[in-house]
């Protein structure tokens, strides 16, 4: 039981680091893109308001939720390995 707890806790920790880094990076990229878009556009509204609105849209988008795959992917792979090693 103890090795399993170690494995899940450490695995969760490592994946969380990856998840958080990836989230921050992805948000920063989106912010840069929005800023570039504002520069190129007709500049009808304030720059900060434009970026803020874009980021809010991004926060509720499916793209952002896809980053959760960082957790799902390894779990699926491990389940597959367990099946192949022990039950086939």
């Amino acid at each position: 039981m103890i090795p399993f707890v170690y494995f899940t806790v450490i695995g969760f920790g490592v994946l969380s680091v990856v998840y958080i880094s990836l989230s921050l990076y992805s948000r920063a990229v989106r912010r840069e893109k929005l800023e570039a878009k504002w520069e190129a556009g007709p500049k009808l509204i304030n720059r900060d308001a434009f970026v803020k609105r874009g980021l809010e849209k991004y926060d509720s988008s499916i793209r952002r939720k896809l980053i959760l795959g960082v957790y799902i992917g390894p779990v699926v792979v491990i389940a597959l390995i367990i099946y192949l090693t022990n039950f086939s």
């Binding site: 039981m1 399993f4 494995f7 390995i81 367990i82 090693t85 022990n86």
Partner: protein, 210 residues
């Protein structure tokens, strides 16, 4: 001299990487199972080459019984496999079915006169000087020694991904070096040369004027 040190370092590094993959990645042997046995093992300096006790049992005991599978390979050389759970630790085979595997292996026992061939998937090394054994992962019967062991897809994928990552890091490092480190070093060298000039000029002010 620095070139020699560089070479020694990188050759050592890549030999270790190769040894790591050779030990950890699965390999397949065409074998005939001769017998199976069980023996208590007191782990000594070779303890790193043994896996973990059965999942769920006490992991703190200093010795335990280990299952072994004795086999003869298709090249007529003998091989002894250990059969241990890897459980939730390294290497990530997540093997829990040790006793089942032992039963399957025992079921495939055959004699030289009437051989039943099988493919054993295993990882690890046999080394007589350290008393270490490869760990059997799975076994499946085949019609004969010419049946083929299959294409090692997993190894191909793992190695491809590994070298892709290494290549990506290497390319970025080279770019970073060209863009940042080389110019900085050059600037530093120039700076030091200039300072030297300044220093000797300052020294000159102390020399007696002719």
């Amino acid at each position: 001299m620095t070139t020699v040190i560089k070479w020694v370092f990188w050759v050592t590094f890549w030999v270790l990487v190769a040894a790591f993959f050779h030990y950890t990645l699965p390999q397949r042997d065409m074998v005939r199972v001769v017998d199976t046995f069980e023996q208590r093992v007191d782990f000594g300096e070779n303890s790193i080459f043994w896996a973990s006790p059965d999942v769920g049992s006490d992991a703190t005991a200093i010795n335990r019984d280990v299952l072994f599978i004795q086999a003869v390979r298709d090249n007529d050389r003998v091989m002894v496999y250990r059969n241990e759970d890897t459980g939730w630790s390294w290497p990530p085979y997540f093997k829990f079915d040790t006793k089942n595997l032992q039963t399957e292996a025992a079921d495939l026992k055959s004699t030289k006169a009437d051989p039943q061939w099988a493919v054993i998937t295993h990882y690890g090394w046999r080394n007589e000087f350290l008393s270490i054994f490869p760990n059997a992962i799975s076994i499946r019967p085949v019609v004969g020694p010419d049946a083929g062991k299959g294409i090692p897809w997993l190894n191909i994928v793992v190695l491809l991904v590994f070298f892709a990552i290494i290549y990506a890091i290497w390319v970025r490092w080279r770019r970073f070096k060209a863009a940042r480190i080389t110019p900085t070093l050059d600037a530093m060298e120039d700076g030091i040369a200039e300072q030297r000039e300044g220093f000797s000029r300052w020294l000159g002010t102390w020399r007696s004027k002719k």
